[in-house]
Symmetry: C2
Subunit: 209 residues, 2 copies
């Protein structure tokens, strides 16, 4: 039987990468199961099968571990969605409505991904009552995504498809925030048809043309 | 010195009303301080200066007490906003934009009310991770408010100010959800100018007319 070179000649970077991934998975699983306040670095270490010091060598707190674990999860999701592409960008095909609908449909799929649901809810809930974590969460995970919409809307303004007096940072909330609220507060079903409708209403407006 | 008849001849209903109010205030203060999971009926009773059985005579659980305490707080806020009016309705002056802006400005003021902030965050955070409480919270507190927007938008459709093919239940989210997300996740400042802008964008649309 052929020997697996990775198991007979482990090298440090491969071991590190394996530990890092085990820590991410343990952190996400644990926070989803017991919530943020009861998640500890000790608990993450035990579940990942590493020493506590291994975690503290790379991160300064459980918040840091979790935020990076989420960044990693998002990057994986983006890579799958983009079929190997490295960045989670918004396409610019020249058709603003189609591009926004495509990205929001992908977000709907991600929100329904069971790997994402419980840990994301645990972190979001903590952010509602814990201002420091909430702001860190937004700056690290949410703001960069919103910035992609700002860029796409600016390009649409240059192309004459969005009014020049519109503030893109507020405009994006007309289709991003309804989806966020339905997910956070369970105020309604989350489907592709729903996000398509949001884009149509936001671009066309509710008043008759 | 004239005697206060209320203090010399207390009657049962007045005592009940005083206890009820003390229980609401204790419940809201406690959940704002220690969060939902650590709030107990015993703790509410101790803080309100009543026996645990007094609470169980009127409510079946801490969730019930808290939901009613919030309903009472909202009713008080609406009464103050309406200067004595009993119901928290959306005005219909015939000017849809002005009516929506007025209500959203009042909501902004309520979100900045310190009596509201901590307990509302505690309950909202719990609703994110606790599906049963979240759904009860939405059905009791949020859905009735959203229904007022549905009615106002339907009236606007009858008046030809909103396109007839628009679903009012989704349309309202274009201006309600951005405010909700900014409050829940602290993604941006909450001001009257901001909610005015949301209404203008939602009604007029982002695309050039």
């Amino acid at each position: 039987m052929a020997q697996n070179p990775a198991s007979t000649r482990p090298d440090a970077s491969r071991r590190s990468e394996r530990s890092r991934r085990a820590i991410y998975e343990a952190a996400l699983a644990l926070v989803g199961e017991v919530g943020y306040p009861r998640t500890t670095v000790e608990g993450i270490a035990a579940r990942a099968g590493v020493g506590k010091q291994t975690i503290y060598r790379w991160w300064s707190s459980k918040a840091d571990v979790l935020l990076e674990a989420f960044l990693d999860l998002s990057a994986q999701a983006a890579e799958q969605a983009a079929d190997g592409g490295a960045e989670y960008a918004i396409p610019d095909t020249g058709d603003l409505a189609a591009d926004l609908k495509a990205v929001l449909r992908a977000t709907v799929d991600e929100l329904h991904d069971p790997r994402f649901e419980a840990p994301a809810r645990a972190l979001a809930a903590e952010g509602v009552v814990n201002e420091q974590l909430g702001r860190e969460f937004v700056a690290t995970l949410l703001a960069p995504q919103l910035q992609l919409y700002v860029r796409r809307l600016r390009a649409a303004q240059d192309a004459g498809q969005v009014r020049p007096d519109v503030d893109p940072r507020i405009a994006l909330e007309l289709f991003v925030s309804p989806l966020a609220q339905r997910w956070l507060q369970r105020t309604g079903p989350i489907t592709h048809a729903y996000t398509d409708t949001l884009v149509d209403y936001a671009l066309g407006g509710l008043a008759p043309r």
